[in-house]
């Protein structure tokens, strides 16, 4: 895999003529996790979807550039809150979906390796309905990794999980996505505090860069500095929403 690029998103968006967000600049540092934290409706998903070149209800004026000047949209892998697993396909078929949709033959050794890494080897031939929420989200993570893209866009992928499964998934994702340029959209200050190499709080007024804890991500759930950061982030969110 080539070195992950830096991505710079700069611009503004309107919906039906009304401002969704004023001009702002968001940089995703190469090979690092950038957490975009904010309340619902501020436009976090819109930014992520613009980077992925997906439909949004907004009109965007601005630029989305990669440091290596190559196009961005065909180098992203996308993971959303819903796992988007095809119910009629097996775990293995879901993980290899990308290759099948491009008319390519999936690499079986890569599949086997990923199944091991997300601890689903025994479930490869099962249908998604037979799995728990956490297992399903691990399949979605494996599918994202199978794509072998340099830029990973995560739109609240863990927010539907219970607290302990969510913490497990955060650890697993941090481990498996090491070296990628990651944008994690979240409304959860604890998640941002655990995972971010950079944390940007988004509000109707724009972006505010926040200090991150000194421990390396993923940080322990009971790390004191991480908990303090979490508190500071929540406070900032509450101040900015008024």
């Amino acid at each position: 895999m080539t070195q992950a690029p830096e991505i710079t998103f700069a611009g503004q968006a309107t919906i039906d003529g009304a401002t969704l967000f004023a001009p702002l600049t968001l940089s995703l540092r190469p090979g690092q996790w950038t957490c975009l934290l904010g309340g619902s409706g501020v436009g976090k998903s819109t930014i992520l979807r613009l980077i992925a070149d997906l439909e949004t209800g907004a009109t965007f004026t601005g630029t989305i550039l990669a440091s290596d000047t190559k196009p961005v949209e065909n180098r992203v892998a996308y993971m959303a809150q819903e796992d988007l697993l095809l119910p009629w396909a097996t775990v293995a078929q879901n993980i290899t979906l990308g290759a099948r949709l491009r008319g390519e033959t999936p690499d079986p050794s890569r599949l086997a390796d990923l199944l091991t890494r997300v601890r689903l080897t025994d479930h490869a031939t099962k249908k998604p309905a037979e799995l728990s929420g956490g297992q399903r989200q691990r399949v979605a993570l494996a599918r994202t990794l199978m794509e072998d893209k340099e830029i990973i866009l995560l739109d609240e992928p863990f927010s539907a999980l219970d607290a302990q499964t969510r913490a497990d998934m955060q650890d697993l994702a941090a481990e498996l996505l090491r070296g990628k340029t990651v944008l994690l959209v979240t409304h959860d200050p604890a998640e941002a505090a655990r995972l971010g190499h950079a944390i940007e709080v988004m509000s109707p007024r724009g972006l505010t860069a926040c200090a991150t804890p000194s421990a390396s991500a993923p940080r322990n759930v009971d790390d004191r500095e991480t908990l303090e950061t979490q508190g500071a982030l929540l406070k900032l969110l509450r101040e900015q929403s008024t």
């Binding site: 439909e55 959303a80 095809l86 119910p87 009629w88 990308g98 099948r100 949709l101 491009r102 309905a129």
Partner: protein
């Protein structure tokens, strides 16, 4: 067994009411024959009834298969081509405004008195429900799947075959269940307009000769045939949906 108990009770109830009406009103048997007489007629004429039932059954089955195929192909064409939608959709609406019955004499004129005019009627009557329910399903693919496919640089063809069609199969299944109800109606209308075989023909013939008991026997046989057909299609499509979603339906 308890699954069939309500149906059994309903049947006994209907037969009782029927017999009661016959006994109370004292209607002559060429107006309203009683259940016992109809059963007896059915038994003495069983060979004739079986022969005509077989013909109607064949018409319905061929009609179902052809109608489902044509409907499915049309739905896919409509879902994948804006041009097809522009050209064909108004025509579909027009053909729906036209009672299919009105076409029966023309079909008999074009296709003759044999099997094919009845098959054509069955096809015509089921074509629209199959097409429209499958088409709706194809146009209502969950948007998240399409987003995912786009970030994967999927080809439109692969999206159609691996996402849109599988996701629309439950809609196709509900169209097929409707088709199973409509197809016998189409075949019988075809037989009424002009035929020398089939349950519809037998009903007309019996009616014309004031053999009302035979007409009832033929009509009830048609009812049973329709119910069995609907049940078979239902069972098959539910199985399909279960294996499709990897989930078994709660009973």
């Amino acid at each position: 067994m308890t699954r069939y108990l309500p149906a059994l009770i309903a049947t006994v109830f209907a037969v009782t009411v029927w017999q009661a009406i016959v006994s109370i009103t004292g209607l002559p048997k060429f107006i309203l024959p009683g259940p016992a007489l109809v059963a007896e007629t059915w038994w003495t004429n069983r060979a004739v009834i079986a022969e005509h039932t077989f013909i109607t059954f064949i018409e319905v089955m061929i009609g179902l298969v052809l109608g489902a195929l044509l409907g499915a192909i049309t739905a896919i064409q409509l879902a994948t081509s804006r041009l097809a939608r522009m050209l064909v959709q108004p025509m579909l609406v027009f053909t729906q405004a036209l009672p299919v019955f009105a076409l029966a004499p023309i079909l008999t004129l074009w296709l003759g008195y044999g099997l094919w005019s009845k098959v054509a009627m069955a096809v015509l009557i089921i074509y629209f429900p199959v097409t429209s329910s499958f088409f709706d399903g194809l146009m209502r693919t969950p948007p998240g799947y399409l987003d995912l496919a786009k970030t994967m640089q999927a080809t439109p063809r692969a999206v159609l075959w691996q996402i849109r069609i599988p996701a629309a199969l439950p809609s196709l299944a509900s169209g097929l269940r409707l088709a199973a109800v409509y197809a016998p109606i189409g075949a019988v209308i075809g037989e009424w307009v002009g035929a020398s075989k089939g349950l519809g023909y037998l009903m007309l013939l019996a009616n014309g000769r004031a053999k009302t008991d035979l007409m009832f026997a033929a009509m009830l046989t048609l009812g049973v045939l329709s119910i069995l057909l609907h049940w078979a299609v239902r069972t098959a499509t539910v199985r399909l949906e279960e294996s499709h979603s990897g989930r078994s339906r709660a009973q």
